[in-house]
């Protein structure tokens, strides 16, 4: 019995730490815990450094798939700020009355097809993804990127038989980067910051625009600092960093 429980614990623990955390220096300025979707990691790491150097706050980031973060928050995980990869998850958190104030959209993202360096399989369109013999990896529909990917595919009237439905968008990226998958659907930002894969653009009529909302959580220890952080994200500097990482600004 203990073994089964331990196995269960293992599952739950792993479910809980699907991502990574970045800690800044000794918190001289208000420490903040930011729950952020994993696709935001490269951009937010840089934003975090700036926030410290400008004495706004000392953020620690809890990166994970948005669905995982949502589950954690719904189960009572404490945090200061939530940056989600789609509006639906922010709405769930809002419905559970966990937000201190209304959420704001701080970035947009679009989808792009990730392929190996040099595009060895010569993929040009979403339709190419249904080619026989191609190993395609998508994000699971429970993940925002996965849901958007399905939407894009149905817009393009394409049926794909994926080899795997990854639980984080970064999983899709890694599989393509490692060469285990020939192609995957990820965010534009993922491809920009990766450098290990090439991208094939998806035309706007097939693409979707993902809204990234951000909000302060009720469980915050320092509302002022949390607000300041969000303002920084929305500021020219913050937006500049996001755009450099492949996001679309607001």
């Amino acid at each position: 019995m203990t073994k089964a429980v331990v196995a269960m614990l293992a599952v739950v623990v792993v479910a809980g730490c699907g991502g990574s955390t970045w800690t800044g220096y000794e918190p001289l300025y208000p420490p903040l815990t930011i729950f952020a979707a994993s696709s935001l990691q490269p951009a937010f790491d840089k934003i975090g450094q700036k926030a410290i150097s400008q004495h706004i706050a000392t953020p620690s980031f809890n990166y994970a798939g948005t669905q995982t973060l949502t589950a954690q928050l719904l189960q009572g995980g404490p945090g200061d700020v939530f940056a989600s990869a789609d509006a639906a998850h922010m709405t769930s958190v809002d419905s559970a009355d966990l937000l201190a104030g209304p959420s704001r959209i701080f970035a947009h993202n679009k989808l792009e097809i990730a392929v190996g360096n040099g595009n060895p399989k010569g993929i040009q369109t979403l339709a190419d993804l249904s080619r026989a013999g191609l190993v395609v990896v998508l994000a699971d529909p429970s993940v925002p990127a996965g849901k958007y990917g399905q939407q894009a595919l149905s817009k393009a009237h394409v049926t794909v038989k994926p080899a795997s439905l990854e639980l984080q968008v970064t999983g899709v990226l890694n599989k393509v980067a490692l060469g285990e998958a020939d192609a995957g659907i990820v965010y534009v930002s993922d491809i920009v910051t990766s450098g290990k894969v090439d991208g094939v653009a998806i035309p706007d009529d097939q693409n979707i625009v993902a809204d990234y909302p951000i909000a302060v959580l009720k469980s915050t220890q320092n509302q002022a600092a949390a607000n300041a952080f969000i303002n920084f994200v929305l500021s020219g500097e913050g937006q500049g960093i996001l755009k450099a990482s492949g996001f679309l600004g607001v």
Partner: protein
């Protein structure tokens, strides 16, 4: 006593949480849902297959381990127990680097036969075997070391050759160790998550074992996740209880 009680509580509380928060009214619907059945079937199939592989490869490995001495033994021991201390995801990555399309062995298989191992059920079985086999090896090796060497000596003195000694003396006397090792191995394989999703990915019916299904369900259908967890718990409990002390004890 107090400490023991705390320890017990530590194990019982999550279990209690699972049971009390369970949506019993939806439990039936959850159990009979096709996704559940698929995940459960796949989990049972993969974990049993992994245990079978572990038995075939692990018993001879344990034999070798028990017969070597010195530095070689320490090295072999470290290698075989490495998966036990490695974080499962790291194990998954290692498997990819070995058996993936660009992996050490995988690339040869891919180029020569077009065989791709990741994202297949076989990959799930391999991932589970990787993390669970050390349990079997350690248990069997322990059993071998505890075995009185004179039984084998007596058999040899009576004229029995290597294979007969192994099959008619060593193996039967090892039965309790093999059994308990196999059960531990199976339980570990059943609960494996990190290596599985890294190496085999997630796809219902092919690689979505119950732990993975629980993870996926956690956000979208948390009640379903709880039901799945309970089912896995019940199945594991049933088998562990069925395995009575008698089987774990000495011959």
């Amino acid at each position: 006593m107090v400490l023991a009680g705390l320890g017990l509580l530590f194990f019982l509380l999550p279990l209690a949480g699972l049971i009390f928060r369970a949506p019993w009214d939806q439990a039936l619907a959850g159990i009979t849902a096709p996704e559940t059945a698929t995940a459960l079937e796949l989990s049972l199939f993969c974990s049993l297959a992994a245990t079978a592989v572990a038995l075939v490869l692990g018993i001879p490995l344990a034999l070798v381990l028990s017969r070597t001495t010195g530095n070689l033994r320490n090295l072999l021991r470290a290698l075989t127990t490495l998966p036990m201390v490695l974080p499962p995801v790291v194990g998954g990555v290692a498997l990819l680097l070995a058996f993936g399309r660009h992996g050490l062995v995988g690339s040869l298989l891919y180029q020569a036969f077009g065989i791709q191992i990741p994202f297949t059920t076989a990959a799930a079985i391999m991932a589970e075997t990787f993390v669970a086999m050390p349990f079997l090896v350690i248990a069997v090796e322990g059993g071998l070391r505890a075995l009185d060497p004179r039984y084998e000596e007596a058999a040899r003195a009576l004229g029995a050759r290597g294979w007969m000694v192994f099959a008619r003396v060593t193996l039967p006397l090892l039965r309790p160790a093999i059994f308990s090792g196999a059960v531990l191995c199976w339980a570990r394989a059943l609960g494996e998550f990190g290596a599985t999703i890294t190496f085999a990915g997630n796809f219902p019916g092919r690689t979505q074992t119950v732990p993975v299904a629980v993870y996926v369900a956690l956000e979208t259908r948390p009640d379903s996740a709880i039901v799945l967890s309970l089912i896995l718990l019940a199945v594991s409990l049933a088998i562990l209880v069925g395995m009575r002390d008698r089987w774990l004890g000495a011959p």
